[in-house]
């Protein structure tokens, strides 16, 4: 592995200072929180910012608060490890705790942050390689070229989004706050993802993600995230499914908005299965109802040969994991 490229280092003490550094340096700057994703791409020369703005000294950006009325608020720089140890999360959002535990290794979770995991860059076999390895082929779309090594002749990039905390947070209806010198804006977590492999999130160069909020868990609801990977630690997902269901008297609740199924690592953004609520609402939580959603989910994704696991295998596993996630979420709702 090559050494790190050089850059100017800034460690602002407040969100305000961070915003003004971002507007000063714009595209020439990158934010660094934990760095477990960014530093590797810098070693591989996928990213060579002139300025790194570290969030390590910004106070209050790692706070976790819970209020019964307003729900959970997490600072973007909270580490995944502290998230898994936070009493309100363990108590009220156990599925979020479990999803955070599925990221990387113990060592990575102790540095990596929630904001960083949400803003994880998209990945591809032909992209996440050293600059030396990449020299053997013409540059792809994501490295500034005009070809795609995954889908021949493609005008677009198919790099895959692999963050494990996004799908479960989307299923729970999370929102994110983006701060800048000009103020702040709050968008739903789903809107954070552009679906563009080249530029996977909607954070503008002068903005930074400062806070993630989740509504209080609704009565009778349960969520789960199932992650498929080659090894049970360290690996990125080769596919994942998050599900939220609402139960009422042993059956699925009657309101379609009580349901959400989000597929992960099969495209450039986590993708919600359309109509899942209508297919499940009011039904008995049995195989037939789950099967319908599972098949719609399978038909909605087109994984490519750019991560571990063949596209055929990943596509075949979509319905399996959807049913698995729905069953787990139903069990969580009933307990």
């Amino acid at each position: 592995m090559r050494r790190m490229p050089r850059f100017e280092y800034h460690a602002p003490a407040s969100a305000g200072e961070t915003a003004s550094l971002l507007s000063e340096y714009g595209d020439a700057a990158r934010l660094i929180a934990g760095g477990t994703d960014l530093l590797i791409s810098m070693k591989q020369r996928l990213s060579t910012p002139e300025h790194l703005i570290s969030l390590s000294s910004v106070t209050g950006l790692d706070a976790v608060d819970y209020d019964e009325k307003t729900g959970l608020r997490m600072g973007a720089a909270v580490t995944l490890a502290s998230l898994t140890q936070s009493p309100p999360i363990k108590d009220k959002y156990p599925a979020l705790e479990a999803a955070a535990r599925k990221v990387g290794s113990v060592q990575v979770r102790n540095i990596a942050t929630l904001g960083g995991n949400l803003c994880l860059d998209t990945r591809c076999w032909y992209y996440n390689q050293s600059d030396y390895w990449r020299q053997s082929r013409p540059p792809c779309h994501k490295t500034g070229g005009e070809v795609c090594h995954v889908v021949e002749g493609s005008k677009r990039c198919f790099a895959v989004y692999s963050g494990d905390t996004a799908p479960i947070l989307m299923a729970m209806g999370a929102e994110v706050k983006l701060m800048s010198g000009g103020g702040e804006r709050v968008i739903s977590l789903g809107e954070l993802f552009t679906g563009d492999g080249l530029r996977p999130n909607a954070v503008e160069p002068h903005e930074f993600l400062s806070e993630i909020s989740v509504p209080p868990p609704a009565a009778g609801s349960g969520v789960a995230y199932v992650k498929l990977r080659l090894r049970e630690e360290v690996d990125f997902p080769i596919m994942g499914v998050a599900a939220r269901v609402t139960m009422s008297d042993g059956a699925f609740g009657s309101a379609p908005q009580g349901f959400k199924v989000v597929l992960n690592a099969v495209g450039s953004a986590p993708v919600e299965v359309e109509g899942a609520g209508e297919m499940l609402a009011g039904k008995a939580p049995e195989q037939a109802a789950l099967e319908e959603v599972a098949q719609v989910a399978r038909a909605s994704v087109h994984p490519q040969a750019n991560t571990a696991g063949t596209p055929e295998y990943r596509r075949m596993m979509v319905p399996v994991l959807v049913k698995h996630a729905l069953t787990e979420a139903a069990a969580a709702a009933s307990s």
Binding site: M1, R3, M4, P5, R6, F7, E8, Y9, A11, I32, G34, G35, T36, L39, I40, K43, L52, S54, S56, A81, G104, S105, V106, Q107, V108, N110, I111, E232, E233, V234
Partner: protein, 153 residues
Amino acid sequence: MKRKMKLTVNGEEHSLEIEPHRTLLSVLREELELKGAKEGCGQGYCGACTVLLEGQPICSCCLLAMDARGREIVTVEGLSVNGELHPLQQSFIEQGAIQCGYCTPGMLLSAKALLDENPSPSEEDIRSAISGNLCRCTGYVKIVKAIRAAAEI
């Protein structure tokens, strides 16, 4: 441009002047001559560079030294006290839990973090605690045994 920073390593405070692009691993190895932590993959997959930051295992290859400033680091060199090996180190030797030795410093530190929090771990706890450390000699059985034996001391 070099930056001044302080780093507490194995209980000793160091004042350093370093370029900000240096990782914690490169500062430990090249500035402080602490060669225990190793660079394996350089990407946070193998755990050979594991050190303790405020008592918790981290990959020192994926952390800027600047972002560790003012914080407490323990490397494998900090385990022994007055020349006496740490019970985990002694146990690794007695159980033959070392082959090429490249993963050993990281394994020891992940094990130390575990035992500090949970003095009597189950085999599953031990396996989970070292799941971010690869041993390419595949000597996991003896490593798990050595950690269990050290816990019993």
